[in-house]
Symmetry: C2
Subunit: 190 residues, 2 copies
């Protein structure tokens, strides 16, 4: 407790991330962010001089990094496609806490800060990167590019749709059903 940094940086981002994922950008007040992290508002400003917008940006970047390391990179390995998809489902389940946590990309896309939306590019890039990684796996399983793209896009739609539905109905069932069907959606017989 004698240390100056009483809260670990990674843990701090995690807690901020949970708030943004839960109530969105506008819904996340500095008071709520302070309470969730256990820091006072002034301390948050010390670490994030640009305030809420910087927090959201760093949370978004951290999520991108996590996805790159835990999902995109494993998907690009040359292990068997079905093994890669098996790992994918486990990582997705972890990332979204089994469907209990909504997706940042969805909750931050309505944040209109300054002109044009500050997070728009980062969000679009992240969607594209996931689709691209999935497409590669499907192609490695022997499907042509058009079919692989179709399956990759559909799977990302199903992922986010299942999260919307899970949050809207207050049940993790849609997300679990999505995960269960994912191997077949990506690699099943045509």
């Amino acid at each position: 407790m004698g240390r100056q940094a009483r809260i670990d940086d990674g843990e701090l981002i995690d807690k901020l991330s949970a708030v943004f994922s839960d109530v969105g950008f506008q819904g996340a007040s500095m008071a709520a962010l302070a309470e969730a992290t256990g820091l006072k508002k002034a301390s948050l400003y010390h670490r994030f001089p640009d305030g809420k917008e910087q927090m959201a940006r760093e949370v978004l970047l951290a999520a991108g990094d996590w996805m790159t390391e835990n999902i995109l990179t494993p998907l690009s390995k040359d292990t068997p496609p079905d093994a890669r998809v098996g790992l994918l489902t486990r990582r997705l389940s972890k990332f979204y806490s089994g469907g209990k946590q909504a997706c940042l990309l969805n909750l931050l896309s309505s944040a209109r800060i300054a002109e044009g939306g500050v997070f728009a590019m980062e969000i679009a890039t992240t969607f594209e990167a996931l689709i691209s990684a999935l497409r590669k796996v499907v192609m490695d399983a022997g499907f042509d590019k058009a079919e692989a793209d179709r399956r990759a896009v559909r799977s990302v739609m199903l992922l986010h749709g299942s999260l919307v539905l899970s949050r809207g109905t207050g049940s993790t069932r849609p997300f679990k059903a999505f995960l269960e069907g994912l191997p077949n959606d990506l690699l099943g017989a045509k």
Copy 2:
């Protein structure tokens, strides 16, 4: 112009709805709602004494009514299933402005007012009603209940996922791709 009600009730709800769909509940300030409708804040309070929460509730109810009249009821008719699905795609395209407008159900699910979220039940009910109506059409096409439910849930996931993706990428392509595939997703050969 001599009338007292200068703005039509339906049009008023439509404009409020557009704001909530765009920026969510917390993102929709009274100032923004006033500007969008052309009414001053005090005038909005005159029509909605309980303020923003009442506006969102009425907008949600109006969307539910629209869906019942234009989607659920047609889906329960006894015309051929493929004709019903054809009408469904046109109505969905209209409802979401061809993918340019996000779904209220998604943007209002993060609104945590009072304890438990005031809109939660209405949102859950609307999701269930749509799934239920789709399930019936699929069953009318000769599929068993389990398969019909699977297809109905998947289609609703694809719908909302395509809207999330369309908003996140700034393109209506995902939504259009969803609409194009919908007839096959619901009624295609197993």
